[in-house]
Every structure is written in C-alpha cells, then in structure tokens.
C-alpha cells in the first residue's frame, strides 16, 4: 500500500457509530503516521456502493460479509469488535498490512 489512502467507515445508519469509529481512526492515523487522504463515514447502504473506490473499509464485525464484492476488487475490509478501542483499530489496520 503506497501513497495516500482513502478510508471509508460504515455503520447501519451512518450517523452515530461510524462517526465514533472515524474519530478513533483519526487518532490512530495520527499515532502511527498513516498517509491518509480522506476518511468518509456513511450508512451501509451507501457504503456498499462506494466501497470499491476506497482502499480500506472499517465497520462492525457483523457487517463484514456485506462487503464481499469490494474485497474481491482489492479493498481491505476491517471488521471491528470494539469500535471504541483505539488499540483494536490500530492492531487491525496494522494486521491487515495497511501502513
């Protein structure tokens, strides 16, 4: 993964949880110095159509299967258990080979 990354964060309604994840992702990005171009948060509906245009999609674990198509096209899908855990987000991103 080289160059500027585009991250997408999704949750059921695109209002509460995805924004929380986004705020926490921003902390992680600062901490590990990821080269990020943009982070966008939205509802699953919109996210499904947008996913393949992004490098990484983050969502709750239970929504991971919704992004199979984008995964085939090379988008990394990161399922989170605890969306409030900065540590987990950091480990998942690094674990998925996103640097």
């Amino acid at each position: 993964m080289a160059g500027k990354l585009k991250l997408l964060v999704c949750c059921g309604n695109g209002a509460g949880t995805s924004m929380m994840i986004k705020l926490n992702v921003e902390k992680v990005v600062k901490k590990i110095g990821l080269d990020v171009q943009s982070i966008y948060h939205c509802a699953i509906s919109e996210g499904k159509s947008l996913a393949s245009q992004y490098d990484v999609v983050l969502c709750s674990k239970n929504f991971v299967p919704m992004f199979q198509d984008a995964e085939k096209k090379g988008t990394k899908i990161v399922g989170l258990k605890n969306v409030m855990s900065v540590k987990e987000i950091e480990e998942s991103l690094l674990g998925a080979g996103i640097k």
Binding site: G12, N13, G14, A15, G16, A43, N62, V83, M84
Partner: protein, 484 residues
C-alpha cells in the same frame, strides 16, 4: 443601554430563532472553547449550518410526500397515521411546533444545550449523584429534545418559555445521565470492559430486559450462532432498502384502500396517471427525503458531537461516554441483530393488525430505526444474559410495546396528526408515564418525575457500593475483585 438591546434583538431575530444559524453558532463557540484554530471553527460553523439547511430540504419533502396519505385517511376514515421512527418524529414536531404552540425549532436546540450541560454537571458531581455517564449521541439528542419539548409544551401550555426550557432541560438531562448510567454494568460485561455505555433510545429497555433475561437462562446453553439464516435477509441491513420496502407495503395498502378515484378527486394525481407507479414513486420518495434528511443530520451532528465530546473530555475525566447502540453489534452473537430485527418486526406487525381490528383512531406505520436498532440491540443484550430464548422473546415483546405505547401517546399529545412519533422503546414506555404524571399532577408531577430519576442511580449504587465506580475506572481490577 438602548444600543445593547438593539444588539440582543438583532441576535435573537437572526440567529437565536433561526435553527440553522443557531446550530452553527453553537459549534463555533464550542470549537473556540476547545481552542481549535479559527479556520476549523469557521468550517465547523459552515458545515453545521449547511447541514441543518439540508435537513430542512428533506424535511419539507417528507411533509409534502406524506400529505395525500394523511389528508386521505383523515377525510375518508377520520384516522391519523404516524410513522414510528425518530426522524419522522422529529419531523412531526418540526411541522407542528409553529401551528400548535407558536414556537420554533430553535427552542429545541436551546433545550438540547441546557440538557447537555445538566448531564455534564450531574456527572461532575458523581460522588453524590452516582451518575457516571455522559450522553454523546448527537443525532439522538436532537430527536429526543424535539419530542421532549413537545411533551412538556403539551403538559404545560401556559408556562413561559424560560421555565419550560429550564424544567425540561433538567428532566431530559437527568434522563440522559440516568438512562446511560443504567447500561454501564451490562455493557462493560458484554464488551469485556469496552469502556463505554449506551446513549440511545432504549436504555431503560435494555436494562429491564437484561434483568429478565437471566430468568430465561437454559442449562443446554443453545446459542444463536447455531442458526443459519437465508442470505436475502442481509438486504434489510441497508436503511434505504428496508425503508423503501416498509413504506411500499404500508403506503401501498393505504393508497389502495383510499383508491385512485379519491386521489384524483383531491388532485393528488391526474386521471391519466398509472396508479401502481404513483404508489411506487410515493413510497420510494420517502426513502429519498429520508436520505436527504439524514445526510443533513449527519453533517451537523458530526460537528456538534466533536465539540461536545471535546468539552466533556476536558471537563470530565474518568466518566464513561454513552454512545450509539449500534456500537455493540460487533459483540455477542452475529445472529442476534438479525433475530432481533425479525422478531421485533413480527411483534410490530401483529400489534399494527390488532390496532386495525380494534379500530384505533391512530394508525401506526412501522419505521426502520425502532424496528432495527431497538430490537437488534435488545436481542444482543438478552442473548448475552439469557441465551436464545430471551433473544427471541424480548424483541417480540418490544415490538408490541413500541406500537401500542406509541399509538396511545402519539394520538393523545397530538403528534399523530403530523404523521410521526419517535417510537423507540423508552419513548413508548418511560416517557408516556412521565407525561401522564406531569399532565395530571402539574408541578407536583415535575417533582415526582425528577425524584424518580434521581433515585434510580442511588439504588444501583446501594447494590454494589464497593465496585460501583471501579467498574468504569479499572475493568481488570473489577474482574479480580468480583471473582474472589
């Protein structure tokens, strides 16, 4: 002096009473208080204001789209129809505030601010209040503040603005602090010390159902994960698809019952139009305007939450943030969300059928948010505490309650006439009870409601005074202590 009054009047006329600028202004002040750079504060102001303007576009679209159905049901059958969904509920308040009470939505935003400050103060003095959680879910705060404002106006129509706002600010702030505080233990347990609790619309519901779920525990410990679901169910995870389907079913039936002749006569469509496609377009338009409205909410709430969170973090170290209930969907069984949705839908549809059979004057139309979020989150908690039986039974019961409770209160307080009610579990149970108390006991009723809310965390504390604060301060230490 005159000059100062002039400035105040200018501010009141152009900002205080214009919700879009008011919310922008709140964000601007919040960012400046957080010592963010001026350009950040400026862009926050723009995004919040534009976000609210986007919401207004979606809002008026929804109202217009709804008109044929509301007018038709009223004229032909003398029925009111209310969609139970927080966005529709907020919209109904927005549409009704000025004709019914002569107020604007700006009052709602001021109420939100007072309630939030109240919540912060209650947690600041947690030593005495025993309240550990701050409600930070912005879009839910807007929805609840609008419904709460309507309910207090309904109870005390002759009270002046300042007292109305202060009274409801105290009650709503208490509800936020007490409700999210109720979910601390069960959420810590579910998430293994995730460090957050729930700030949403069914906090009392989750707490009660978690308690009840323990009674349904079975020895064989059958888990939800053992069930296989058909793949097509995943389309209902998407709000646009779910809303379109729901609306098409309900409005399709209502429009078919009203009949083409009536709609042509009332000039909602012309005689040459195809009736099926008119119905389809009307149903899908709900999803369109709802998406616009939600985009608006998302735009300004992001700004609002960031400034609120910043303020609460700097002001209250060591408290737990209450967040959106969807945050727990990743915990427990992955099937719980689907089971909750299906069982809740069964409960709601059955209840709607019963309303029709008993000829209720208020017709309820199922909305996506209570159906999905309320019942899914209840299933997650019920499954965690009581297994498969609890996870199936409680969302079903919740579905029944959501419809019956909402039908009673939405009809009574006059929100059904504007086509929507918030409809979430607590707002179909706890809040109707509060409203009854305040309507019939007047000012004494306010005191009773406040007392009820103040007592709840005290009772929680008395159960486990030694670990009550430890559970949020140090989860690992708490686990050690309770296992000994």
């Amino acid at each position: 002096m005159e000059f100062l009054i002039g400035i105040w009047e200018f501010f009141a006329n152009n900002i205080l009473t214009k919700p879009a600028y008011l919310i922008g202004f709140m964000v601007l002040i919040g960012y400046l208080l957080l010592k963010k750079p001026v350009y950040d504060a400026f862009s926050g102001f723009i995004k919040a204001t534009v976000g609210y303007m986007i919401l207004s576009v979606g809002s008026s679209g929804l109202v217009n789209n709804f008109r044929p159905i509301l007018v038709g049901l009223k004229e032909r059958f003398n029925l009111s129809a209310a969609v139970i969904d927080p966005y529709f509920g907020q919209n109904a308040v927005n549409a009704g505030l000025s004709p019914v009470f002569g107020r604007t939505f700006s009052n709602v935003l001021i109420l939100l601010l007072i309630a939030f400050i109240m919540n912060l103060l209650l947690v600041k003095f947690k030593k005495y209040t025993k309240m550990r959680a701050v409600f930070t879910t912005g879009h839910v705060q807007v929805q609840q503040a609008s419904t709460a404002f309507w309910l207090i106006l309904f109870c005390f129509p002759f009270l002046n603005d300042v007292w109305i706002l202060i009274t409801m600010g105290i009650i709503l702030g208490l509800y936020w602090a007490v409700g999210s505080n109720l979910t601390v233990e069960i959420t810590q347990e579910l998430t293994d010390g995730g460090g957050f609790c729930i700030a949403h619309q069914q906090m009392f519901g989750i707490a009660i159902f978690s308690k009840l779920a323990e009674k349904l525990k079975r020895a064989d410990g059958k888990k939800l994960d053992d069930i296989k679901f058909p793949g097509f169910l995943s389309i209902f995870n998407e709000n646009i698809v779910a809303t379109s389907c729901l609306m098409f079913v309900f409005f399709g039936i209502i429009l078919a019952v009203l009949g083409k002749d009536y709609l042509v006569q009332s000039q909602f469509l012309s005689a040459s139009d195809n009736f099926f496609f008119y119905t389809l377009t009307t149903s899908l338009n709900f999803a369109v305007y709802l998406s616009i409205l939600q985009l608006g909410v998302r735009t300004f709430v992001t700004e609002l939450t960031q400034s609120f969170q910043g303020i609460s973090n700097s002001f209250l170290p060591g408290s737990v943030p209450g967040i959106d209930c969807a945050a727990v969907f990743g915990f427990g069984s992955s099937n719980a969300v689907t089971v909750g949705f299906i069982m809740g839908a069964l409960g709601q549809f059955l209840a709607i059928l019963i309303l029709l059979l008993i000829k209720s004057p208020t017709l309820i139309i199922a909305g996506f948010v209570p159906l999905f979020f309320d019942n899914a989150v209840i299933a997650v908690y019920a499954d965690n505490r009581g297994g498969i039986r609890a996870a199936m039974l409680f969302p079903f019961i919740s579905g029944l309650i959501q419809v019956f409770g909402s039908a009673l209160i939405a009809g009574w307080v006059g929100l059904a006439a504007f086509g929507g009610y918030i409809g979430m579990f607590d707002w179909a149970t706890v809040w109707p009870i509060f409203t009854v108390i305040m309507k019939f006991a007047g000012y004494i009723g306010i005191a009773i409601v406040v007392l009820i809310l103040i007592i709840i965390p005290q009772l929680q504390y008395r159960k486990r005074p030694d670990t009550y604060f430890l559970i949020v301060e140090d989860w690992e230490a708490y686990k050690e202590k309770t296992n000994k």
